[in-house]
């Protein structure tokens, strides 16, 4: 049987069908969790963020019209907002998160794997820490999540052209050889091109 697209599943979620909501989680829960882990570098926070994303989706379901075949870019956008407004969102779902902490602990193998992923995330986050948040967002969605420029535009609610210009600026900032002379000659900016810069360059090359 052919699986229906998210855009066809969404009306059932909007009408309050828990099974349809569960299907949405089955399709995208793991991707949202991986994204949350890379954004926070904290496995515990990744569980919280994943739960909060889907609880927010449920809470706001009647306000949302899904126009893309996949809900994933939009879910990444929700995740970005949840992370950014972490404290406010946590307050809203305080009781639910209390119940989340009551879940059994993940298996030791999963804990180890998540710790490795978190360590890598921490390293990358350190490399891109100095980027403005808007550029970090497009870079991570492109390089880490593999979204197209169009999908990133949906996730962030900005025009595709803005995605392209932010990616190009992020690439330039991460690679000192591309910086204006004044910045490259400033001792505070004498840093080597980071490994992330190479991937940012690949992301930019998708730009026609």
């Amino acid at each position: 049987m052919t699986e229906i697209s998210d855009v066809n599943l969404w009306p059932r979620v909007r009408d309050g069908d828990p099974e349809a909501f569960a299907q949405l989680f089955d399709r995208h829960g793991a991707r949202v969790h991986a994204y949350a882990l890379r954004r926070t570098a904290d496995p515990g926070a990744a569980d919280d963020v994943t739960a909060l994303v889907f609880l927010e989706v449920w809470r706001r379901r009647r306000e949302v019209e899904l126009h893309q075949p996949s809900a994933l870019p939009w879910l990444f956008g929700v995740a970005g907002n949840v992370i950014r407004r972490w404290h406010r969102t946590r307050r809203r779902h305080h009781d639910a998160l209390d119940r989340l902490t009551g879940l059994p602990a993940p298996s030791p193998a999963l804990v180890e794997h998540q710790a490795e992923a978190a360590a890598e995330a921490a390293s990358v986050l350190e490399q891109i820490r100095r980027l403005p948040r808007r550029e970090r967002d497009v870079l991570m969605l492109s390089v880490w999540e593999g979204l197209s420029h169009t999908e990133i535009a949906v996730a962030l609610g900005v025009p595709v052209g803005t995605v392209k210009s932010r990616l190009a600026r992020a690439r330039d900032r991460l690679d000192p050889t591309r910086r204006p002379a004044i910045r490259a000659s400033d001792p505070r900016h004498e840093v080597a091109a980071t490994p992330v810069a190479a991937l940012a360059d690949i992301a930019v090359k998708e730009i026609p």
């Binding site: 793991a30 991986a34 609880l55 407004r85 890598e120 100095r130």
Partner: protein
Amino acid sequence: MITPHAMVEPTIDDERHAQLRSYLLREVSPAADVAPVPRGHPHRRPLLVTGLAAVLAAAGLTTAAMFTGGPTGTPAAEAAVAIEHEEGWTTIRLLDVNADPDAVLAELLSAGIDARIHTYDDLYTEARDTGTEILYMTAATDGTVTLAVIIPPDLAPAVAPSSAAAPHPGDATDDTGPVGDVVEPAPGIRIGQSEMSIRDDAGYEVVIVVTD
């Protein structure tokens, strides 16, 4: 090295997925939507008690405001900025990068600091068109609001980036050095990750920048 998307392994296994799925289904079940109010819930408390609590809370907030110097009714824990005046300098610390910009504006105005709210993109356009330099707190990169000062062209740093390479707002990350550093990029202004000090006679304009 970063693992590209195509090589990333899932960060939850089937067991954890099932646990999270069950949890979410419990949370969104109709029963959860109409959970009965438990005994002793505050909604059932007599109005007199609720009113007394409100009076006591208001008194507490006013007392807190007196100690912090913030606007009346603003609890210290929720202040968006902290402001100090010392030896001819005013220091503003941004305490909450996710604060409501209007609340930040109210706090600055009540402390005698003239400011305005601007979006990130509008400020960039203004700076490009007028030749002014915008100096941002680096807190911009993590929140929805940050603070900046506008430096007129004649007082901007001696060697400004060319217009072709003009930095986008938020570039304060590049201008202020590592986290925690405070630099003095123009006369009468010191700026760091989440604080700025402005000499009282400098006359720079403070801007609340909405970064979303």
